[in-house]
């Protein structure tokens, strides 16, 4: 500034240039202000090219509504629950309605102390109260039965040193539990071969039913169960908690609005790569013929007969056993999913989740045909169900094929992809849409460079309200990694919790749950067709008029 001052001095010395000084002062004061004009131009240009041009609402019509859930009503009555089966899934279901073993709480608290990022205990405590009480529990393994009683009495969600409420009554058989007057509804989390039988008995006893998938083990019982649920009018929910996934609701709207064009192929998969994922569950301490009621485990006589009749008449004896049904086996008790004698295999256990998701999104119903192949290619531990399975379902009336592929020995994820003429949609907890380079609907936007074809142009993440513009690169980057909007209104919800909440609210408000008996019937028949196609090595067909599975 020295030079400046020197320069300005002569001016002031002349004493006749106040206007010049004023102008010079003004210039120095406002010298950089004109840059704001350049900035304004840049901002306006950016807005026009980057922000506004991403608007695609003329070819992409989608509502901004988020997932809708049946909301609990104030003053709803308390529902008294009976639990049947407290194995791995039974534990998860109880947790979803607010009841866990005190020892598990101890583990969570300990984990939280060691790692402040582990907030599972806080999350569990903050889970909404569903206004239920556990009045009865039944498990044929004493250790599980005792554990279920403890969980049911843990009404304050505390650890082993906490205060407990009254213990639920322990029943030795499901029949005794169903005869109890102080039970309004039951949760069935038994092995597959018991689902249908217990669900029917529960409905006949007037209890509402939440049943784990798949809904049945044999084909004949599927008809019986549907009739029984319809006749008794109990509120029935099948345990496909995917029904509560927010992105599935948005996917259904995308299909309805024809934003993919004609969908010709759907690809779904299961990918697991651990012994646990392949149903090689631990043998629990304290299990022996004295603590396990093997007779009950064997199954219901009528069901066993249906199973044996089918297997023998179709010459599939090689898939039965190999142990005698009456022979006590800890492996078969804890790892029952590995044998057709109790299980429905990959088809019933995992394909059903995928099928139900597709059915929820596209309402395709029972497929016209099913073809399967696979085998025991990795877990050669004596199991009879395959660990690699491909099943193809076709709906020629709708010109749609669904391809399911599964391996229990690789965790490579291949997504849930709906391939359409105009775009393909990949659905998980989030949803992404990628335009097809030969699309007609989006051709103009693709040519204008507004819609890219080498990456998704639209991403939906639960809680998001924006639906009318191309997703920006940054948003996409975060969304694909599940970082955006993982919280809905600041709270993360477990889909199983929401699914059970829907069932309980339907009981209170006399409504029909999303995965009702008709959906369950379709789920079961699709799974049975896939299983039979694998076992018999031929395509199985669905006779729509007779409602029967017929051989190809």
């Amino acid at each position: 500034m020295e030079k400046d001052n020197k320069k300005s001095n002569p001016e002031s010395a002349q004493g006749n240039k106040p206007r010049n000084i004023g102008r010079r002062e003004l210039l120095k004061t406002l010298a950089t202000v004109p840059l704001l004009g350049v900035m304004a131009y840049g901002v306006a240009r950016t807005r026009k090219t980057k922000l506004l041009n991403r608007d695609i609402s003329d070819v992409f019509k989608l509502s901004s509504t988020n997932a809708v859930y049946l909301q609990p009503q104030a003053g709803g009555r308390q529902i008294r629950i009976g639990l049947i089966g407290f194995g791995i899934r039974g534990n998860q279901l109880m947790r979803a309605i607010g009841f866990v073993q005190p020892s598990y709480i101890d583990t969570l608290i300990e984990a939280g102390k060691k790692n402040p990022d582990d907030t599972r205990y806080d999350e569990f405590k903050e889970q909404d109260d569903l206004n239920v009480v556990i009045t009865g529990v039944c498990d044929i393994f004493d250790v599980y039965s005792e554990a279920a009683m403890l969980a049911g009495s843990n009404i304050h969600k505390e650890g082993t040193t906490g205060k407990f409420g009254p213990a639920p009554k322990q029943y030795r058989t499901y029949q005794e539990l169903l005869a109890a007057d102080d039970i309004d509804a039951v949760i069935i989390a038994t092995p597959d071969h018991w689902h249908g039988t217990i669900a029917m008995a529960a409905a006949r006893a007037g209890k509402h039913v939440y049943c784990e998938k798949p809904v049945t083990w044999t084909v004949p019982e599927t008809y019986l169960l549907r009739d029984t649920i319809r006749d008794t009018g109990v509120v029935f929910q099948l345990g496909h908690q995917g029904r509560q996934t927010a992105s599935y609701q948005k996917a259904a709207e995308i299909i309805k609005n024809n934003l993919l064009g004609h969908v010709s192929l759907i690809e779904v998969c299961t990918n697991r790569n651990t012994p646990n994922g392949a149903w090689v569950y631990p043998i629990i301490e304290g299990s022996n013929p004295q603590t396990i009621d093997w007779k009950q485990f064997e199954g219901d006589a009528a069901r066993i007969k249906e199973y044996e009749d089918y297997m023998k008449s179709s010459k599939l004896e090689r898939y039965m056993g190999p142990d005698e049904r009456s022979k006590f086996s800890l492996e078969r008790f804890f790892r029952w999913r590995c044998w057709w004698d109790y299980s429905t295999g990959l088809s019933g256990d995992l394909l059903t989740h995928e099928f139900d998701a597709v059915n929820q999104i596209m309402q395709l119903g029972i497929p016209a045909s099913a073809t399967s192949s696979g085998g025991v290619y990795f877990f050669k531990d004596g199991r009879t169900v395959p660990d690699v399975l491909q099943t193809t379902f076709e709906w020629p009336d709708n010109n749609i094929t669904m391809l399911y592929s599964a391996t229990l020995a690789s965790s490579r994820n291949r997504g849930k992809v709906f391939m359409g003429h105009d775009a393909s949609m990949e659905v998980s907890d989030i949803l992404t849409l990628t335009a097809d380079r030969d699309s007609e609907r989006y051709a103009e936007k693709i040519n204008q460079g507004i819609i890219p074809t080498d990456q998704p142009f639209f991403t939906y993440v639960p809680g998001q309200s924006k639906v009318d513009a191309v997703t920006s690169a940054t948003e996409l980057y975060f969304a694909q990694r599940g970082l955006l909007y993982t919280y809905i209104n600041g709270k993360r919800y477990d889909t199983t919790h929401l699914h059970m909440r829907e069932w309980l609210e339907c009981i209170r408000q006399e409504k029909t749950p999303s995965c009702n008996i008709d959906q369950a019937f379709e789920e079961a028949m699709a799974a049975h067709m896939g299983t039979r196609a694998y076992l018999e090595g031929r395509t199985m067909y669905w006779d729509k008029t007779k409602e029967e599975i017929v051989k190809g």
Partner: protein, 166 residues
């Protein structure tokens, strides 16, 4: 203080101030114009000593709204202040605080992997910190008292404003 600056020094200080102001203002304006912009994902991706604090902020919708609001407008006002040289020292302090928060959320630590990775290779010192240091220089050498609105403000505002405001 500005009296001791040569023309060259003053020129480069003004250029530096314009550049940083320009950077802040444009960042702020773009966020302001995008109704869907939120820092939530950025905060959820925080690492280092203060990481959990930022993640907790992102989990609270009320706090998140304030964070977004403050961040956007702070960027705009700091940028504007630096660009036109108005309340420059205050703008420098604001800018330093903001950049410090960004650094605390995303420190350039060895082994810290971010969802949106740094575009270069950094260890401890990233571009945010370089900009932070530059703002420190601009604070101690207030060029706007020569070229900028502060040239006028310094004449009309009480001397108390000189220390931290203009």
């Amino acid at each position: 203080m500005e009296n001791n600056l040569t023309k060259g020094q003053l020129t480069w200080l003004v250029v530096l101030r314009i550049f940083i102001g320009w950077h802040f203002l444009y960042e702020g304006m773009i966020k302001l114009l995008n109704p869907n912009w939120t820092a939530m994902a950025y905060l959820l991706d925080s690492k280092g000593w203060f990481g959990q604090m930022f993640i907790n902020m992102a989990g609270n919708p009320g706090i998140m709204n304030s964070v977004d609001f403050l961040n956007k407008w702070a960027l705009v006002f700091i940028g504007l202040g630096l660009l036109i040289g108005c309340f420059t020292r205050l703008s420098c302090i604001g800018g330093i605080l903001l950049l410090l928060l960004y650094t605390m959320s995303h420190p350039a630590l060895i082994g810290a992997e971010y969802q949106l990775p740094f575009e270069g290779s950094y260890f401890l010192i990233d571009k945010n910190l370089v900009e932070l240091a530059a703002l420190g220089v601009l604070f101690v050498l207030p060029s706007a008292r020569a070229i900028g609105i502060d040239r006028y403000l310094i004449k009309i505002l009480p001397a108390g404003f000189n220390k931290f405001i203009i």
